[in-house]
Every structure is written in C-alpha cells, then in structure tokens.
Symmetry: C2
Subunit: 388 residues, 2 copies
C-alpha cells in the first residue's frame, strides 16, 4: 500500500432476501417528496414496483415518477429528470433498477439545484458539485456496475457520440442501497452474463496496474475466485441463490473504491468499451468482453510480471519450466476459454460494429495513463480492429 490515500464509504447496505425491509428504516430520515426513478418497466412486471410503492405509501411519502431511464442514460433524459426532480421538490431520489438507473439518479441529484448544463459541467468539464445535493437511495435489480456503493455516473450524449463517466465523491454516493439477490432472477441470461463480465473487468482494470506487492491485489484475486466459481454455477442455474448472492456482493466490492486503494488503475477496456457503447448502444458488459482479449494481449508485454501472477494465482497455470511469456499467454487463454464458455460476446461484429466505425470509436476513446502502456491512437485502432 504505497502512497497516501483516504478511504471513506458511508453507504449503508441492506443485503438478502428481506433487504427491502430496510427501506422502512431509511425513509424515516428524509422528507415527504420522493422521486421514484426507474427504467423500462420490468419492475412493474416482476412485482418490485408494487412492493416499493407500498412501502413508500405506508411511510406517508408523496411519490413523483421518473420512468423510462434507458440502459445508456442520455444527456437529454438527464435534463428531463432534473426538471421532474425540481417540480417534485424531491427530498429523496429513489432509484429502482440497475446501474444505469442508479448512475442517472446520481446525475440528477447533483443537478437539481444547479443552474448550469449538467452534461457540460460534469461530463465535459469534469467539475465537482457546487450546489446542494439531493440524497439518493437505490433498490438494485441488476448486478455489475457497483453504482450502488460508489460515486460513478455514466451518461451518453448521442449527438456528440460520447459516453462519459464522472466519478463523484462520497457526498454523491447513495445514502443506502437495497441488495436482494432474488431481484436479479428475472433478468435475461444475456444481461446476467454481461453483468458478470462487467464485474470481472472492473476488478481487472484495477488489478493490471502497478508493480508493488499490494494488499488490494490479493483482495482482488479473492474476488475473482469467488466470481468465477459463482458464475459457473449461475450460468447453469440462474436461480441458484448462493451463486447470485455471491455475484451481487462481489460486484459491490469490485467497484466501491476499496480495491483501488494504494495503487494505480488502468480503465482502458472501459474507455474503449464506452466508445463502442456510444456508437452501438450495445450492452455495456458485452462491449467490454468483445475488446478485452486483444487489449490484454497488447499490454501483457508491458506488465508481464503481473500477467504471470494472474495466470498462476487466478487461473492455476503451473509455471514450472515455462517462460514468463508462455505463462502469461496460458493465463489469457484460460480466461478466454472461460469467457467463451459462459457465453460472452467475444467480438465487436456481433455488437453491430462495422469497419467504417473503427476510426470514430478510436477517436471517441478517452486515453487514461494508469495502465502498463499509454495507448496511442494507432494502438487503439489496432485493438478495435483485432476485436472486430
């Protein structure tokens, strides 16, 4: 744990089959007006909407609705949500849905009392909130982004073909999150698998950086083992509670700031994946899986020691008598084979990317400098081409 850092994560989590009971306790802390934010309406089909509305009503809350948050929430929708929150004089924004809904709720929360254009302020100029933040709570129905216990908020601007994430400070973290693994049962298998890879990728983005002997890397290896074991069960039986609950818990700890402490981080798979998302509106986790293998094979030579450690500690590669290059590649092959096996999308064509889009995707990719190699434009083009 080299370097100085602070850790502070005040989000309260309620976990388990009875987690929603916690909402009763939390609602006491806030005023009457609740802006209920959700997506395409699947929560109305699976009964979660009714349960939440009953608890809100039982607790004397006035409900204002903001439905239709899309999988990649847009800057246009954000403006609409801000207007709704203002009209509602919202005391609490309650997000019921997956990471997108939660991300969106945070974006609304920092914009309600702010006169500037939220897209420009937070996603182009990366400013911090300067106005009163409306508290956010979250009832999670989809697993992967970790948004339930962090300050992350990704918004897409279709006109500008940009999908950008702002990582807000702890004052924007959800005050509480309700995590009931059963709420994730009705999710289509494609979405579940995409979420599993989103989690894995969050861990790997923080793992593949730095050369020190860092406790965070050991914790990540533990999380990876848990994720792989539970994913193997959940893919065969999506209704296995134990597997789904481990996946849900791993997702939270993969991206609630803990495992990045004391180390640098990469995030280039997300940067490329988000650029793909802005072009195709494809499911986030699948944009990550489609570009991962070409990316990791490209950077492995620059962080060989860590790729060797990954192969041995995570994938059980026997290193005896092999060169570092061979060990690293055996680890990546094992990962690739596992990804294929659970049904992840392994190329960009399947997500609708055409060769004509490659330059644009590379242009839209933000370059980060925490990984083993700072990518040039040409390298990004090469990785996207190899991912086609």
């Amino acid at each position: 744990m080299l370097g100085n850092f602070t850790y502070h994560n005040p989000t309260k989590l309620y976990f388990g089959k009875d987690a929603l009971d916690g909402l009763n306790e939390e609602l006491k802390k806030y005023g009457k007006n609740v802006l209920l934010v959700y997506g395409g309406g699947s929560i109305k089909k699976n009964g979660i909407y009714d349960k939440v509305v009953k608890i809100l009503t039982d607790n004397g809350k006035k409900i204002y609705e903001d439905a239709g948050v899309m999988p990649n929430p847009t800057s246009d929708k954000l403006k609409e949500g801000v207007e709704r929150a203002r009209k509602a004089k919202a005391d609490l924004i309650l997000a019921v849905g997956g990471g997108s809904v939660c991300d969106y709720a945070k974006a609304v929360s920092v914009s309600v009392n702010c006169k500037e254009d939220p897209w420009e302020k937070y996603y182009i100029r990366f400013e911090e909130p300067t106005c009163k933040i409306v508290p956010v709570g979250c009832v999670l129905t989809m697993v992967g982004t970790g948004s339930e216990m962090n300050g992350g908020s990704v918004i897409t601007n279709h006109a500008q073909k940009l999908k950008i994430g702002h990582v807000f400070g702890e004052e924007v973290f959800p005050k509480f999150s309700i995590l009931n693994p059963e709420y994730t049962y009705t999710l289509p298998k494609y979405q579940m698998i995409a979420g599993i890879y989103d989690i894995m990728c969050h861990i790997l983005e923080q793992y593949f950086s730095g050369e020190d002997d860092n406790t965070s890397d050991y914790i990540m290896e533990g999380l990876l083992h848990s994720l792989i074991a539970s994913a193997n069960v959940a893919v065969k039986n999506p209704l296995d509670y134990e597997a789904r609950s481990n996946i849900m818990w791993t997702a939270t700890w993969a991206l609630n700031t803990l495992v990045a402490k004391g180390k640098t981080t990469d995030w280039m798979v997300h940067m490329i994946g988000q650029a793909v998302g802005a072009y195709t509106d494809a499911t986030h986790g699948m944009t990550l899986s489609a570009v991962s293998m070409p990316y990791y094979r490209h950077i492995a030579p620059y962080g060989l020691k860590k790729f060797v450690r990954y192969a041995v500690n995570v994938w059980g590669v026997n290193p005896a008598g092999k060169s570092d290059e061979v060990i690293a590649e055996e680890g990546l092959k094992a990962m690739e084979s596992w990804m294929n096996g659970i049904g992840l999308v392994m190329n960009l064509k399947d997500l609708g990317v055409t060769p004509e889009m490659v330059e644009g995707i590379a242009d839209a990719t933000l370059t980060m400098d925490g990984g083993y190699k700072v990518l040039t434009h040409e390298e990004i083009v090469d990785i996207v081409n190899k991912s086609l």
Copy 2:
C-alpha cells in the same frame, strides 16, 4: 452470501506517510475540548505525541490528558478515564496508540454521559449505549486489533479475573482513524509479531465457520496471502514500508465487519486467549498463537471440508491422492511451521501459565457457538492443557 445482513462502516481512514495531515481536516468538525488518550508514553519518545499536540494547538483545541492506558485496559482505569472526560467536557476523544488505547477510548465514549457502572452495563450485562456518545478519533501506532475501524472494545477486570469484549454498533466506531505505517516502526519486534498473529487469528476466526460458498471466505484467503507474504518480509526487515503498510491495511480489513458478512463466525481462540490474558496479562497476540494449534487440531474433524480448502488455497498443499484428514493436517503443519518461523509463542508455559491455572482459565472462557464444534468445559481444559 446466505442470510440477511446490513453493512455500514462510516469510519473515514487516512492512510500513508502523510496521514496525520488528515487530522487538521477532521478537527474542524468538533468542539474545543479534546481528551488526548494514550498509553505508557512511547509516543513521547518517538515524536508522535509532539506532532499530534502541535496539530491540536494549531487548530485552537484545549487539550486534556488521559495517559497510562495499559496494554489490557482495566475497569478501574476506565472509571478514571470517564471522570477525566467529564471534567474536560470532552467534545472529542483522541486515542493515540494501539488497539488497547482505541478500545479504551470507545469504552470511555459510551460511559461519559451514563450514570451506571460501565463494566457492569457493557461487559457483564452487554447492554447497548443509551446515552449521548462522545465521538472518538484514532491515531494508530500499533497494528492488529482492527479497533481503528470497528466497534470492538475489550476491558479487563482483574478483581473478577475477566477480560471481556463488547462489540458496539457503528455509532461507536471511530469517526476517523489516522494510519501511518511508519508509526509502527518503533514497536518492539515481539509486539509486531504478536500483532501479525492477532490479524491472522481474526481472519481465521471468521473463516473457520460455515459450509457455504461465501465471497467473504475468498476475500479472507486474499487477505491471508497478503499477510503471510508481508509478514515474511517484515520479520526480516521491520523497516520495509511496503510490508508494514500491507500488514496495517490487512489488519483493518480483517476486523472491520466486512469479512464476517453473510456467514457465521467462531471466536473460540479469542475466548480462550482472553481468559489467558486475564490470568497472565500476556501480550494478546501471543495468547492466541499459544492456544491455536491445539484448538484447530481439535475442531478440524468437525469442519474438515473447510480445513482442506484452507490447506490447498492458503498453504498450497497438493491434495492429489491424499485423504481429507491428511490434507487438513498438512495445512495445519504448514501453518505451525510458519508460526514457529516468524517467532510466535507456541505454548502457554512461555507466557507464565502454570498447570494450577488451567481450570480457572477454562472457567473464565466464554463459550461461543458459531464454530464447527461447541466446546464443553472438558474440551476447553483439554485444549489449554495441550497448549501448556
């Protein structure tokens, strides 16, 4: 992650060589009167006292002192501290020291505004605080207990020969803790090694319980790998910053409630060790190491599957062609050999325990029921005898 639980840990941590700078930020949140709590005065020799007093003075605080907190803080000292805190009208209790000082500060914090006898209320009747709690902050100078980010508070009553821990809720957790690995450098090697085993034992007390496939167990395996690797370095070179910082961070996460989530826990090594501590005043971590091997060998048959997993995943035992019993014992042998190698006390005689004390220690041992076997009085006597 079976079962329902909540997770909420609001303690803010400042970590690293410049961690003490965070005290300036924190002090702004509290009133003028600070009760400065510390131990035998080693902080005056190593300069930490002067640094803390300067920051308190620079921030306009009035300092009231409560020195002389002993390694096993007593119920008599607690009464004295409560009186001092009352006279100071303390707005903040600042603990500068190891887990004992931090434990003690918490015990004072829940007793200042409480008329009842703290020992009787919290450690005999295990009641929750019913009075206003004075906030606690912590500058950590010794590693092991995790007290810097939890509600644990162990107090010893010599007259009653009892050493009892109360685990308070999050309202008693330190509001902030300052973790500078360099502050642990001046600690004698014996204390450092005892602290390392305290950490390991905290992890194992939570690991050796339950039969489910729990993410917490995977995280604990990661923490154990980090601890073992860093301990091996620190024992040879106690001034290795990377190793000491990993040990410090692992200690915090081993006992800040995270790794117990979704599972049952054991704690019988601590229960026996604490009874030994009440009889001998021996260093806490060494009371744990001295009784561990007889205890684990006693319970292994009742939790064999987990002991096999431990041997393979933590100690790298090759399971091929071996019975579960053999694999488990090979794991315990590897652990025992490692413990011997880093210099832990491996029997109770070296801590001053005599055969005449055995019955009394067994009587003073609280029995918990979360492990693989609920111990009878005879079994505790047997384990203590085998630990002599």
